[in-house]
Subunit: 296 residues, 2 copies
């Protein structure tokens, strides 16, 4: 009974399944091209908070989704996330050398390999989604993930982010950027998880959308707060980078106190959105708390 | 009656449909993020031989596939091809400044934008595939395209290519590289086209595989020949690049005459593979001729 266990036990169980599924989905290092496969595994395995897989599994409790389908959804969305990190870290983008406490892929391997790692991980994400379910539902999942990843979603958000360096954004513009850059994929994680089970009413789907939107923004607000409040070692990536690169953040726009207040407001919004699901929303509720109250 | 028209008329008709479909699939430049969308359109529209869309349409004649489904398959495969060119031209890969007679995307825009253009075009390819057909068949198309694009296909071939610079490859190794780098996507074009119509027998599918494999290799052999025989203006991309970069090619391995002989042998293999389809294979046959006898 998942309802009976605490969040740490539930999280550990999910993460174990997801790590195993990621390991299985990624080509072996003994398979050619070996260096590329080694780099793909380096980019994905042993690291990361796996927020998106956890959200997929938590949303799956709303629709009683079976574990194997949730694994496929969780792996697909995590592969997209991992590819985006590899590309974002490249010298022509954020030019970062540290990620999840390890050298970034282009540092550990080389730039060309990092480029191909990202490209191949994206392909693999869609491949994985076609292996879990049949017919219409799986096709709807592919469509959702493709939309969330593309120029109207994550990649588009990254483009807006690049264009915003050194510029002052309004709060609305900042929100729009984050809704695309990180929000779209977090939303996809929640919806892909829920879609892995029985079909939902439109009201239920709307509630999940509201939840996903609130925690998506909260996640970013907290990221901005941590970027100024935490040191590099604890964060596992270079701290203070946003200010250094003159990037607009919630902290630079609203100040630290108002940013913390906003994160709390968004947490409460997320909880309210899923309150009607009762006990089925236990994990979604706990994850909203975790996302806002995390320290790295 | 497509059988009644000559190849130029048929090609022109297909290309017009494909250009329209590509234009429709790509986000408008008026939609945010505008610069990214402008660069995506720059990378895809007004240029390219559209070999893969033509192959998809030609293979569609074998299974009587309707034009709208063929358009989706053709657009998806061309978007993957276009993304791979944008990423291959980046400084950390082939570092090329000219493509299809125009400055490459990172030259006309910037490196970060070119990276995101490729990423977003890949997502869009999968999105487009989910819009044309229902259920199982579309899902099989997504799987095929994902496999052809990933580390066991195109991206993997590119990795092998990078690793082979300055090394002597055996003919077998060279063939293996090209089978992944360009062959996988050309094969996908043929199969996606055929899958857009009525279902095929295993024998028919095997014939198409043999055809696709032969013209895939022939395409690369001819590319290698043209790289040494044609000047930059005629080629629309930098000529003599392979020798300059000390990349193994069919010409460097077999010599010019033997390479030309090999291309002809492969052309005949392709023709023989689809001979049993009779008149339905007219366009596949003509395209095999076109691919081997082209001058750029």
């Amino acid at each position: 009974m998942p309802e009976a266990s605490g969040l740490p036990e539930w999280t550990q169980g999910v993460l174990q399944q997801v790590e195993d599924a990621l390991d299985l989905a990624l080509p072996s290092v003994t398979e050619a091209p070996q260096r590329l496969h080694e780099a793909m595994r380096y980019a994905v395995l042993q690291g990361g908070k796996r927020v998106r897989p956890l959200l997929a599994f938590a949303a799956g409790e709303i629709t009683g989704a079976p574990a194997d389908r949730l694994c496929a959804a969780a792996v697909a969305v995590e592969l997209i996330h991992a590819y985006s990190l590899v590309h974002d870290d490249l010298p022509c983008m954020d030019d970062d050398v540290l990620r999840r406490g390890k050298p970034t892929v282009h540092v550990a391997f080389d730039e060309a390999t990092a480029l191909l790692v990202g490209d191949a991980l994206q392909s693999l994400a869609f491949e994985v989604l076609t292996q879990s379910m049949a017919g219409e539902n799986a096709l709807a999942q592919v469509r959702l993930l493709a939309e969330a990843s593309g120029s109207r979603g994550m990649a588009g958000g990254q483009a807006i982010d690049l264009a915003s360096v050194g510029r002052m954004l309004t709060r609305e513009q900042l929100e729009q950027m984050h809704r695309a850059k990180t929000g779209a994929l977090l939303r996809a994680a929640v919806l892909l998880g829920a879609m892995s089970g029985s079909s939902m009413s439109e009201t239920d789907q709307a509630s999940l959308e509201t939840y996903a939107r609130a925690i998506g923004l909260a996640f970013q607000v907290v990221d901005d707060i941590l970027d100024v409040e935490t040191d590099t070692a604890q964060l596992g990536k270079t701290a203070g980078k946003d200010a250094q690169q003159n990037k607009p953040t919630y902290v630079s726009l609203l100040g630290l106190d108002a940013s913390k207040q906003l994160a709390e407001t968004l947490r409460l919004e997320a909880l309210e959105a899923v309150a009607a699901f009762g006990e089925r929303a236990l994990r979604l509720t706990q994850l909203a708390d975790l996302i806002v109250l995390r320290k790295h």
